[in-house]
Subunit: 404 residues, 2 copies
């Protein structure tokens, strides 16, 4: 951004409005003033203007750092909805996505002035197991996609679990996200009823250096152990590469709502917290290491002969024990008022993306459910799986190969 | 922020880390690199580092543009709490406020790493009518502060109304706000039970030019007609200037939760919406005018003889009809899932601040309750009043003159 001083001294050309001329005298002063104002304005509205590409081989909203705000919207199909209704719905959603992710109001948006830009909006659509059943599309199920078995640790509430269709919306502005969420629900009302809405957050743009791993509400750095965004490893772990055509380039999502018992967790001291997790609280480094991304040494022992990373530590059981168990984690924080208990309910809307949930995610989850000391302070209370359709390009329709 | 080009050309001294030396050669390149990195980092964390002054004649969080996120926390005193307990509680809150608004974790914060800065945090504390009753402090009631009468339009839910003590927290980062909210509730738990939590939002920093009046979820520019922040007019309307000492420099707050029926509202066309409100949707200008802040002309008539601003328009009845009716409005948007109806509930956490609610706010509210066409699409479902204590300086304790 130009400083006022640079403008006044005329030491830079006014660039804000695309002006790059040599100018002098009173006209120059006026041009500079305008250039300054434009540069200021550009900086003040930069976030609104930020866009994330919505078209391509993959849907947006998976291979990216989470935006500050996220809404998971689950809908259940209305009685009598047909496969061709589904296609009509997808046509509408495709149009909505292509407009709104460009920072443009959806068709017939009743309050278009609320769309001040895209603020990195992404909209990702997926389908629960029920959809494949209802339309007799079992042959279109991607390999490894199925309802999760029940785990002994689960205390699932059906009101925040399952669902036929997921619309996952993320943006860096909660006001925009709220408006877009309403638009998407309204545009779906002929086809489906709202089942649940779960809202999550990470830190606002402008609070942490770019690329910083977020912390969860326990205070831990959460999400370090992940395939790198943009890497071949990411693509190989996450994007479906064979099977039904509609899903090639898509993925599978499990969303777990994990409630934290922060009242008891916070009775632990820092050392105990670090041992339960297996990472240092300040840096996020594995115990015994210095930096967040230092490799974990599960074998290291201390002078007293004990393991540096205790046998019960969460990262010991959560880490992939073979390369088949690698998937992509994207945790979002949530905090709501528990109306019954009259206290805050805090936790994670924890997501895992994998090309095959059964192979990659399930063994890890089973191991954690069996024994993870962290289970003492966390309870899964919601759970859903969705098959995320492939991406689409201008002129194509989301999931048309499934419903067309 | 320095551009990469400026750094590379060496046309500016590296300033990010406070370096202002003339440097050359390899050392210069290294200094430039560091300066660039520091400037980048400063820009990426600027929001976290932003602070709003917490000490002074007035509490923070009133005379300022609303932050992106806000939590209104209402608490009810536990049985047996005494006036000296109240003072102890205020000592704790004073300490919390002075630390957290400086971007520093509160004492014994169980997750201090979550405090990445202040992100313009403000914390404002007030007391409901019940506190004055319980401690027999009726002589400490500021003039004009009382429970509101009931209005025919109200459909109040006690679960989101009233309360003994209000802690109003605002910040530009929802994650920080969530953590601070938990800390404040925890630090209050000896003294009071959580009664309700209501969360609101405006647009994120970086989406609108500084000073832009926000829009509500109906799409209207909302909050134009207000005393100017920082003006004598503001001070004269808002800050209590006589009466009980603890409240001099304080104010009175009414918080109304106003549910919008957006489904029926959005059946109206743009012209109808504009006529119901009395302002243009795009600019926020009064009907017949061009700019948001153009003075309202209630007398103007159209060529067909009808009034430009219809007799039933909201601004006609909401505007002050004499200078005594001027107060400060600060609307926050909210959107939650209505679990029963399985639909979104959207609306305003609408606040008014006045030195004397009975004189300044009540006549306007009575006029609106009697007849305002907008009532057809809006319903007040929550309502509370709080007397906001004066500000405090380092070494002083919040509301010590009330409870000391």
């Amino acid at each position: 951004m130009l400083t006022r001083r640079q403008i006044l001294l005329g030491s830079v050309a006014a660039t804000g409005a695309g002006v790059a001329a040599t100018i002098s005298g009173a006209a120059a002063a006026e041009e500079y003033r305008k250039g300054y104002a434009a540069a200021e304005l550009a900086s003040e509205t930069k976030l609104a203007k930020s866009k994330t590409a919505w078209s391509g081989d993959h849907q947006a909203g998976v291979e990216s750092h989470p935006q500050a705000h996220t809404n998971f919207i689950a809908l259940d199909l209305k009685a009598g909805i047909t496969k061709s209704d589904m296609l009509r719905w997808m046509v509408i959603l495709t149009d909505d996505i292509s407009r709104m992710c460009n920072g443009v109001a959806a068709l017939a948006d009743p309050a278009p002035e609320l769309v001040v830009g895209a603020a990195n909006l992404t909209i990702t659509v997926g389908f629960g197991p029920g959809v494949f059943e209802k339309f007799n599309l079992q042959d279109q199920l991607p390999a490894g996609f199925a309802q999760l078995p029940s785990f002994a640790i689960d205390e699932l509430d059906k009101k925040i679990s399952d669902g036929d269709v997921l619309i996952h919306v993320g943006a860096d502005d909660l006001q925009l996200l709220s408006h877009i969420t309403r638009n998407l629900i309204n545009d779906s009302e002929y086809f489906a009823n709202l089942r649940w809405l779960q809202s999550g957050f990470t830190q606002a743009v402008g609070t942490l250096p770019a690329g910083t791993t977020q912390r969860n509400l326990m205070g831990q750095v959460d999400g370090t152990d992940n395939p790198e965004i943009g890497s071949d490893d990411f693509a190989n772990r996450v994007w479906i590469s064979d099977g039904p055509e509609w899903a090639i380039g898509g993925t599978q999502l499990v969303l777990r709502r994990i409630k934290m018992n922060l009242n008891t967790w916070n009775m632990l001291g820092r050392t105990e917290k670090e041992e339960v997790i297996g990472r240092h609280l300040d840096s996020g480094a594995p115990l015994g290491k210095k930096n967040e991304r230092d490799p974990i040494d599960f074998e290291a022992t201390r002078a007293d002969g004990l393991q540096v990373i205790p046998p019960f530590a969460h990262i010991r059981r959560a880490s992939a024990q073979n390369p088949d168990e690698i998937f992509f984690r994207r945790p979002f924080n949530y905090q709501v008022l528990d109306e019954q208990a009259k206290e805050l309910e805090s936790g994670l809307l924890w997501t895992a993306y994998a090309k095959d949930l059964t192979k990659q995610y399930l063994p890890v989850q089973q191991r954690l459910a069996k024994f993870d000391l962290l289970n003492k302070w966390t309870t899964p209370i919601g759970s859903s799986v969705f098959a995320i359709a492939a991406g689409f390009k201008p002129g194509e329709v989301l999931a048309e190969k499934l419903f067309g």
